[in-house]
């Protein structure tokens, strides 16, 4: 039994002269929900399409279930469920016809009962045409179509983009339902970090095509922190502390954003700088992400005059 379900090796993609993905090395272990994070245009969709063989890499490779993404066999494809960004479905089809169409790709695995139950739950009928559905209803059909073949690997590209809270929650419930079965693996991208925090075991953060973090959610939550140092006199220009990401200061306060710095290292820096007092501030996941992906800016976006 192989333990790495999705793997990319030095995966690189250029669109013309534009570098979209830069030597990405990812390993998604079996049985985990993997949150794939990054700002708009960071390369998430490109990476996902490469994993599924929908794009050709410039260099490097990707594999799913041990099978090279460029030559995925029908058998391996039949084990993968894929939700596209924006839930693109054939607009002219009725839900029932779409089910027949989709089922053909998963001949031995289609769970008609689950599909019917999900439609029922969503108040959708098989005679309804895709083009008559709202965005939310189309997303629900897409979720049912992806879950019905009981995929071993579910890959979802920003599945809850623009959806209301109720439908977003249904997607999360779908993920939890699937992962509770033995040996299933899920990779999904999202910008809604509180959703990611609910369901993900591991996260990857990519920025401008480069992998910036690949760790358990818990490590991410624990390791990115802010520390405030309070000074009586002059704030030192240089501060020597491991894991320093950003620093900001006003007259007496120095605010540091730290990655992976231990309490002991913080205490050492307090002593070395002669700070009068300090406080460690835990951040929520959104602030952690903003701090982690932000570049040092000299000027804020909006400057308020006092």
């Amino acid at each position: 039994m192989q333990d790495i379900i999705i793997e990319t090796q030095q995966l690189t993609k250029y669109y013309g002269k534009t570098l979209a993905l830069d030597h990405l090395n990812l390993r998604v272990p079996r049985g985990c929900i993997y949150g794939f994070l990054g700002r708009n245009g960071s390369g998430k969709t490109t990476a996902i399409k490469l994993m599924l063989g929908l794009l050709k890499p410039t260099t490097g490779s990707a594999s799913v279930l041990g099978c090279d993404a460029q030559v995925l066999t029908p058998k391996t494809r039949g084990q993968i469920g894929y939700v596209t960004e924006g839930h693109r479905l054939y607009r002219w089809m009725r839900i029932g016809a779409l089910e027949t169409f989709q089922k053909a790709f998963f001949p031995d695995r289609w769970d008609s009962q689950l599909f019917d139950e999900m439609l029922d739950y969503f108040d959708l009928g098989k005679k309804q045409k895709i083009k008559s559905l709202s965005n939310g209803q189309r997303a629900q059909v897409s979720l049912a179509l992806t879950m019905a073949p009981d995929p071993d690997v579910m890959i979802m590209d920003d599945p809850t983009l623009g959806l209301d809270v109720v439908i977003r929650r249904q997607f999360l419930e779908g993920m939890i339902h699937l992962i509770q079965k033995k040996g299933k693996t899920i990779l999904f991208s999202s910008h809604i970090l509180s959703d990611v925090e609910r369901v993900a075991d591991r996260i990857a953060v990519i920025e401008k095509g480069v992998l910036r973090a690949d760790c358990t959610l818990e490590e991410f939550r624990r390791n990115i922190r802010k520390v405030h140092f309070v000074f009586d006199g002059q704030i030192p220009d240089v501060i020597d502390i491991p894991g320093l990401l950003h620093k900001r200061h006003n007259q007496h306060h120095l605010e540091l954003t730290l990655v992976g710095t231990t309490d002991e290292q913080i205490k050492n820096a307090v002593e070395a700088t002669g700070a009068k007092d300090y406080a460690v501030v835990d951040l929520n996941i959104e602030d952690q992400f903003i701090e982690f992906t932000a570049r040092e800016k000299t000027k804020p976006l909006f400057q308020w005059e006092a």
């Binding site: 929900i33 929650r169 999360l172 419930e173 939890i176 339902h177 992962i179 509770q180 970090l193 509180s194 959703d195 925090e197 609910r198 369901v199 993900a200 075991d201 818990e218 939550r221 624990r222 405030h228 007092d277 300090y278 406080a279 460690v280 835990d282 951040l283 929520n284 996941i285 959104e286």
Partner: protein, 130 residues
Amino acid sequence: MAFWIQISPGSKQPIYTQVYEQISQAIIKGDLAAGDKLPPVRKLAAELVVNPNTIARAYTQLEQNGLVSTRTGAGTYVIDPKLRQKDAVHISALCERLDSIISQAKLLGLDYGELTELLNDRMKRFYHET
């Protein structure tokens, strides 16, 4: 079940600590009594729409801190308070959390007396006998 878990994703506190704290509070306040069974990990994960490993982690921590005991195949039960351990590891973990609360209080500008008063007041809610 005499208690209700409400989690807030996106808050400063990690989800497993929220689950851990709400269950341990329920045990300490007596809403969950010795011998009560906690819901199975998978059931609670589905109910709260949270990764099952997150729930499992909270349960493991409850077990490590001597609040519950897991019997293979039978589930997770609240332990009789008289049998709970108060060993050095648990005390030192407690001290760490107290330290963080005290430094937060200092940052808020509370002095020694004010913080003592506040702590006393809060403690009275838990130690009914005094």
